[in-house]
Symmetry: C2
Subunit: 307 residues, 2 copies
């Protein structure tokens, strides 16, 4: 799957991923109204609205972008019905040949991580049959529990040719509270980065490992250092746009081959119609606004890379 992701990024010249993190407040009135008319102001109605919203965004951007990253928290907030909308979104995106990165940030002790890995990337056996539960292509994973919390994901990645992105340095303001703490003179996130190299060494694609990492766009100096520390690791970069990360800061997250990083934008794309810049599209044409925002983001990042 890392090969597919890399190939799609090259072919489209678009090292970007659209974060499908729909707050209900992003969903235009006309979609909410229609969904509530059908299913009431219920969890099912909200989930239907989010699914219809996602579907239009996917339809409007799938020829431009290599991947989408649904954030499962935004679905879990609507309970079981929300999780159904997550699954529909994953399946639909895959039917459009998009790579799906499930932003689930799971991680637990070994046997429990094995269940998460089976559920999100692998398969589970029921009697004589096997099924894939959520069946994303990649998931994000939290490293706090160490190797035996990660290894079950790596094992499933090898079996299924899928991938993970391990949190190394996150984009949020207080990420430094623990991640930046010095251990023998080096920040914790560098220790995690070294482990990412180890975990990924046994499952290389053509050029990059099945084991990627997450480094926030909001910490460009650290991104630069981490790029060098993990030469074979794809970096998933959240924090561009709404969180403050700028294209010129992100150049150093890439390798000399122009690959090695994929930049996420969520709100900046999916709720573009709410920005002054894209207000001309109007709420009815929110998906066209999202497409234009994706075009602009790709140009912004590839422009910075070409310099």
């Amino acid at each position: 799957m890392i090969n597919k992701l890399t190939d799609k990024i090259k072919k489209l010249n678009a090292p970007v991923v659209v974060g499908l993190d729909p707050m209900l407040s992003y969903v235009p009135e006309h979609i909410q109204k229609k969904s509530f008319a059908e299913q009431g102001e219920t969890l099912a109605g909200a989930s239907e609205a989010i699914w219809q919203f996602n579907k239009e965004i996917i339809d409007a951007t799938c020829d431009l972008i290599p991947a989408v990253k649904p954030q499962i928290a935004m679905y879990e907030q609507f309970g079981v019905e929300g999780v159904m909308a997550f699954k529909r979104t994953v399946d639909y995106a895959k039917s459009k040949d998009l790579v799906v990165i499930g932003d689930v940030k799971r991680g637990d002790i070994g046997s429990t991580s094995a269940a998460y890995a089976a559920g999100h990337l692998g398969k589970v056996t029921v009697g004589q049959k096997t099924y894939a539960g959520f069946d994303e292509d990649f998931v994000t994973v939290n490293p706090y529990l160490g190797t035996d919390g990660i290894q079950p994901f790596v094992d499933v990645c090898k079996e299924e040719k899928k991938g993970i992105f391990v949190l190394v340095k996150t984009s949020n303001p207080s990420s430094g509270e623990f991640q930046d703490k010095l251990i023998d003179g080096r920040p914790l996130y560098e220790l995690v980065a070294e482990k990412v190299n180890e975990w990924g060494a046994g499952c290389m694609g053509d050029r990059y490992s099945y084991v990627g990492c997450v480094v926030g766009a909001t910490y460009p100096e650290m991104g630069k250092a981490l790029r060098k520390l993990m030469p074979n690791t794809y970096i998933l970069v959240p924090g561009y746009g709404a969180q403050g990360g700028k294209a010129e800061d992100l150049v150093h997250y890439f390798n000399a081959d122009g690959l090695g990083a994929i930049v996420n934008s969520s709100r900046g794309i999916i709720a573009a119609y709410k920005q002054e810049k894209y207000a001309r599209f109007g709420a009815e044409h929110f998906a066209d606004a999202a497409r234009q925002a994706a075009v602009d983001m790709i140009a912004d990042i590839t422009g910075a890379l070409e310099k």
Copy 2:
């Protein structure tokens, strides 16, 4: 909710929680057969089997124990249908007046943690209405992202009078890889423990904070030190039994009042009928075996505490 948990532990003299972490292999043949006959060898069939299994365990133990801890990974492995079984389990346990600790180990950047907190502990607004998605009483939370990943959970806990358990020192073999690393001479898990104190200071129940922590039974020396460092924090203790933690080692996880810790056992209770010790019950009476194992565990731990 921390007051309810404390009161129930006192009343029952049972500082234990039963982990509802059903692998399909734990579910006796007769339940699997019945579920598969009704729903086929499908994800729905597996989820039905797990739900029926949980229901019997809950019925057989709910007068003995204060709380259950369903591990959501074991449900997510069966996809959306599995998540439905998780929700049924949460609701049924609550209907039996059990405190429900959702072992979900969530944690993300602020706005995303807010969605998790709303979905698992709080409420979400849909049009003019509000709904609780999963509605557990407590959830477990991962601290790697720092304060702004935790605060949204704390805010919801205050509003809803619910609680969280923050991972401090986990029970697995490689937990030390990052958690034990020394920062200015002190292990990372102690820094997290200090933050747990800070996060919990503003939301105290009668005696203990709404913000608890997780410290594995498998590291008793660390448990002893952490107990002193967090005097007002309830400690959720996984790792007893199957993972190797012993009752006499756990005495120091408690305060002098005999409170302050709640010990989890999963496999050791719910799959007790597979142990030689409880084989006399047979698979048909797995729930009676679970009840006996719970009785024995309570005696083991309260016995050690009385010494």
